[in-house]
Symmetry: C2
Subunit: 287 residues, 2 copies
Amino acid sequence: MKLAIVGLGLMGGSFALDFRCIYPKSKIYGLDISKKNEKHALELELIDELIELEDISIADVVLVSVPVDISLIIIPKILNFVNKETLVFDVGSTKELICKELLDHPKRKNFLAVHPMAGTEFSGPNAAVKGLYFNKTNIICEIDKTSKKISRKALKIFQLLNMDILYMDSKSHDIHVAYVSHLSHISSFMLGKTVIEKEKNEKNIFNLAGSGFESTVRLAKSSPETWTPIFLQNKKNLVLAIEEYILNLNNLKQIIEDNNRSSLHSILNNTNRIKEILTNTKVENEK
Amino acid sequence: MKLAIVGLGLMGGSFALDFRCIYPKSKIYGLDISKKNEKHALELELIDELIELEDISIADVVLVSVPVDISLIIIPKILNFVNKETLVFDVGSTKELICKELLDHPKRKNFLAVHPMAGTEFSGPNAAVKGLYFNKTNIICEIDKTSKKISRKALKIFQLLNMDILYMDSKSHDIHVAYVSHLSHISSFMLGKTVIEKEKNEKNIFNLAGSGFESTVRLAKSSPETWTPIFLQNKKNLVLAIEEYILNLNNLKQIIEDNNRSSLHSILNNTNRIKEILTNTKVENEK
């Protein structure tokens, strides 16, 4: 199997490692806009060889793992180059716009819109980790627009990675991830910003910070190159999510100001349900 | 050494385990308002024996690990019972009010106001873990109000636990923790609330949730009994912190609505500094 990876960062590099694990005899090509990333990906043996975009037709599978604004430009180009049998899939965190962009592309049937719920707060080929894709939830959007033969090829790979597939239309996908993924990043980035602004003496931040702060602020370490275009592409849903979040924050602030102990306790208590929700569905997924 | 623990939850139970580790021959007494907690603490061998508040004078050291509103009532009572040599310290997350309450207590010199930057999102004696206190930052407030002899006793314990001591007045303490601890909890609780409200079909929450959401929402699992009184006691500082957080969220929302790519990128990029801040101070602390 010949895999070509366009974009050799965390997602692309980690996919190389996991793909090698399920297809040990595969040949992995790669390219990146950054020469440094290409060099590191070769040194780390994530990829076997560099490739030019024009030569990508030699690949059986093409993974596009670039920022979602670049995807809009590069995926149509890649589709122009590939042959009839090639699977091209992306792993971007937004799906509505890319699906819309490709709607009338003559090779739309070669493309599968994919969003694995996997990642870390680190970036670049050095951040690549084995096992990032294994056992994760994988959202596939609008699979009916992909040819049966090509989607079967993709599903085989995801099955070998033991991923849980969730089918969704691209609009619903973008609404859901606005809440469970993009809003988490916003809340974490703004927590980091608020605390940095307050604590002019930076040393105090960590000295006083327990593991709670570190875990809540973890996503604020994420790459601006990745997240700027995600936030902008999902603007419509994300702005609503932020507004609901601010409403809840304002409401809680008022309850605290009013010394309303019973309302405060009841809100915290109801929100504790997140514990059971996450545990139950986890157990169910592990069955 | 005889230790009495008032409040046998996560903090008290974990302290029992760590105290036993540094003083293997110690005798540990305990009491809790909940008979179930007392029973569990005995079964888990966190404590050797139950004790009545009236008999607490037999202890050399008394740890008060109860919700901060209960501390205000129970610490003055405990101080009434203890003898001249006994160290009484709390581990509450707010310090201004308890220090104010005890200002004129005839046994103020026996009390040390302590806040270890340690904890987990779990609660109760079953949540007790070994090593919770080891190597953590420990804030001590207004040590000059404690007798030298008694504070030396406390410092010896904290030294054996290899804790980093940070001295602070109680007002500064409450301001700082409003940002690096209490606001994290608020942001996490409200993220959980917003997502639960949106995702009526709860199963979707976890199916779509990557490790990013789980880490950001972790603190929303925390105990309402512990956190309701903390938020209320630190109202003055916390309301300001929430307002600054909301200001940053509103500002970011506007930037996203305006499609202002460069401002958005620059805010995310500047906030990435949290990475270096946390790493550098960590390295420094580990020296």
